[in-house]
Amino acid sequence: MMVQCPSCARLQEPRLICPDCKAPLASNLDCFAALGLPRKLQIDVASLETVYHDLGRTLHPDRFASALPAVRDASLRATALLTRSYRTLRDPAVRAAYWLELHGHKLAENNQRVPPALAGLVFEAQEELAEMRYVAGTGGPEAAAAREKVRARQLEVDGLLEQSGAELERVFAAIDGAGDPPPAEVVARLKGTLAGGAYLGTLMRDLRKALDSRTAA
């Protein structure tokens, strides 16, 4: 669907900036297109930020405070889309979930289950958390020991999260290198990695919260 420029009134292909008069355009674009990127999963986050800042400087409503209402509105919508796109693509896990959605895959339903490979770890961590809470009041060496166990577990989960992030990048490379549509098994590998990462993230938050609240008390 063509977009009419609010400033020069010419019809344009959907994009954020009018190629003729440089005014902002209120286009309906996906997050990759908004930032002028191909639909690839591997993205250099530092250069992504540069693109985002450069486009932001041009499109932001602050630049059009005295413009016509239609131009102001286009600037607002274009900047909102730009912001949302940047935030979506900046984080690898959010980017991957969005990519899956664009390719018609659903992630939400099978993302709640504990991934089998992590079941044992999660069970042990929960036990340790319960133990720490139970002996917390004593303030004695037992409490310190329980706390130490949770802290060690936190370090382990931190390491696993790092591995999961590295695995995600490997899957990204595999998908970007494969044809279109990507083979089902790579997509399944992506989903599995995401689910595991999400679960580790939740576990990490629980561990950190428990350790923090103990610090505050």
Partner: protein, 606 residues
């Protein structure tokens, strides 16, 4: 296009500033007054409004029927149910059907935006006086970063009611960072700790290549120097009979004594508080150490917000490049010490903490005028926005600390066959249940063409603009047609209400002028009648009975008119009496000259 001005609409005082030759400057009262306008609005017994120093004067004169409103900012965007017993002790609120609180002033009720509009009008008047008649039309107004949507809308409404075009609302800590950033004092990751009279904000920013990007913000819109003052008042009034202590006038006096003591203790180690209680006097000594014990819980609350903001910015353990202190409450040594300890570095406070926000607002006004080069501010939404879903759960659509402007779309459909409307309840906050979040507005989507359940597909866009204010639009996905949305703000004014208030303000504006002229005419009348009565007594021999009768007749007519409210009649009769009594007045003058000459002659002779 006219210039854009920057306004800091503060809890305790307000300022207006503008960019001149690339540098921001605050505009002070021309007659040698300061730059700070006390954010105080007072109505005397005749419903005359006074703003700023004049309002403070009226308050301290102890005028019997005066209604004095301080800290109106704390009431912006509030509903009746938000009022605490403490608020009701301080002010009388009007009983209205509207969800918006309003102050009762005589027979009238004023909403917080209407009161704030009077402060804004005074700032506009001041700036126009300083700048020799340049019109102030377009402004940037600062708001606490942690202000919710309703509080922001109320601030924008205040601007509209003051006849101003509010080009942008800017968060106070962000504005402060602009003022510091312009001085190249800071680059990299900085924290702005803004502890003012009524609100606390903490913002973490990354400044890089002219882009001021807020990473996270937190705060409390009801935490400020006011609260410390109140705690001192409670300490001061300990042991005073409750019926005396609860009197509004006693409390107000105690508040100003407490505030003065707090200020003094930023320099001195100890001070004495004296409170006259009509007959007795409370005298108490306060040391800085004791004040710090009173203030510590409030400062602790600010640090909790700081910890949250650092965690949200993902900088919990990362060092900051600078910490900036803003707001009058950061003058307290306790605050300086505690922030230095918490952030692990000495905070910057080289710019006047009372002026820095207004200066930053002027810088942002400069950005909006295209006069600040590449400078760009990217702020965030302070609280998550969402909708109430089945079972009363809050579904988050826009998470807190998302860069603005931002938008998200949501698909809505019908639950039953032939449903013609869909209700959308928008809430803001971090709690799981919609009932625990702040209700912003209810939108009614429709009318929809009757169809089987689930068939209509309406795409609703939630867009947060650069002011941090939510805009909602709806579009039918099949036809692409815009849908109308009927908006009912939960604690805000509708457009119709603002229109009505604007009209009233204009009418009232004329009434104000009319009222002032009437008072002037009455004063003139009383003046001339008093003078005539005295002259008739002192110089009775200079007038004959017929002339005397004419003058007394005119004076009686004037006295009758003076009791009424016909200003023009009073003015005419004053003029008439002047004419009739002129020969008498001239004779008195001649007589006086004569006497003076005679006296001198006598002196010369002797």
């Amino acid at each position: 296009m006219s210039r854009i001005f920057g306004i800091d609409l503060g809890t305790t005082h307000s300022l207006i500033a503008v960019i001149e030759n690339g540098a921001p400057r605050v505009l002070a009262e021309p007659a040698g007054g300061g730059a700070l306008l006390p954010s105080v609005v007072a109505f005397d017994g005749d419903n005359q409004t006074r703003v700023g120093a004049a309002a403070v004067e009226l308050e301290s004169s102890g005028a019997e029927n005066a209604v004095v409103i301080r800290s109106v900012k704390r009431y912006m965007g509030l509903g009746h149910t938000d009022l605490a017993p403490e608020d009701r002790r301080r002010y009388t609120f009007a009983d209205t059907t509207s969800p918006v609180v309003s102050f009762k002033v005589g027979a009238r009720a004023y909403t917080p935006p209407e009161i704030s509009a009077r402060i804004l009008r005074e700032l506009k008047r001041r700036a126009e006086a300083v700048l020799g008649g340049e019109q102030v039309e377009r402004v940037v107004i600062t708001v606490p970063a942690y202000f919710n949507d309703g509080q922001r809308q109320a601030t924008r409404d205040a601007g509209r009611l003051a006849g101003l075009d509010v080009v942008r609302l800017v968060n106070e800590p962000t504005a402060a960072s602009l003022a510091y950033g312009l001085q190249k004092l800071t680059e990299g990751r900085i924290a702005v700790y803004d502890f003012g009279g009524g609100t606390f904000d903490i913002s973490i920013l990354n400044i890089k290549g002219g882009i001021f990007e807020v990473l996270a913000t937190s705060g409390d819109t009801h935490l400020g120097g006011d609260d410390i003052d109140r705690a001192i008042v409670e300490w001061l009034l300990e042991g005073v009979a409750p019926d005396v202590a609860r009197k509004r006038r006693v409390w107000n006096r105690a508040r100003s004594v407490a505030e003065a003591a707090k200020r003094a203790l930023s320099e001195a180690e100890r001070t004495e508080l004296r409170l006259e209680l009509g007959g007795s006097t409370v005298v108490k000594r306060l040391t800085r150490e004791a004040l710090e014990r009173i203030a510590a819980p409030f400062v602790d609350r600010t640090l909790e917000c700081c910890a949250r903001a650092l965690a949200d910015a993902g900088l919990k353990d990362a060092p900051l490049d600078a910490v900036v202190l803003v707001g009058g409450s950061t003058r307290m040594p306790l605050v300086r010490r505690e922030t230095a300890r918490f952030f692990g570095r000495e905070p910057l406070c080289s710019l006047n903490p009372d002026e820095v926000v207004a200066l930053g607002a002027a810088v942002q006004a400069g950005v909006l005028m295209g006069a600040q080069g590449d400078l760009l501010l990217l702020d965030v939404v302070p609280l998550s926005l969402g909708i109430e879903t089945m079972g009363g759960v809050m579904e988050r659509l826009i998470h807190r600390n998302t860069t603005i402007p931002t938008s998200t779309t949501e698909m809505f459909t019908t639950a039953v066959d032939d449903q013609t409307h869909v209700d959308i309840h928008v809430v803001q906050g971090e709690r799981e249940l919609a009932a625990d979040c702040r209700s912003l507005a209810r939108f009614k989507l429709g009318p929809l063409t009757p169809q089987p359940a689930g068939l209509p597909r309406v795409e609703v866009t939630f867009l947060v603009d650069a002011n941090g204010i939510l805009n909602v639009t709806a579009r039918d996905q099949r036809t692409g047609r815009e849908h109308s949305l009927d908006v009912k703000p939960s604690y805000g004014l509708t457009d119709d209400e603002i229109e009505r208030m604007l009209e009233e303000a204009i009418d009232l504006g004329e009434q104000d002028i009319e009222q002032r002229l009437l008072i002037t005419a009455r004063n003139d009348a009383v003046h001339i009648m008093t003078a005539l009565r005295k002259q008739l007594k002192d110089y009775a021999e200079l007038s004959d009975p017929a002339e005397r009768e004419r003058m007394e007749g005119a004076a009686r007519k004037l006295a009758a008119a003076e009791a009424g409210s016909d200003r023009e009649l009073i003015a005419r009769l004053v003029e008439e009496l002047n004419e009739i009594s002129r020969p008498f007045a001239e004779r008195i003058m001649d007589h006086a000259i004569q006497q003076a000459v005679e006296k001198r002659t006598l002196e010369e002779l002797s």
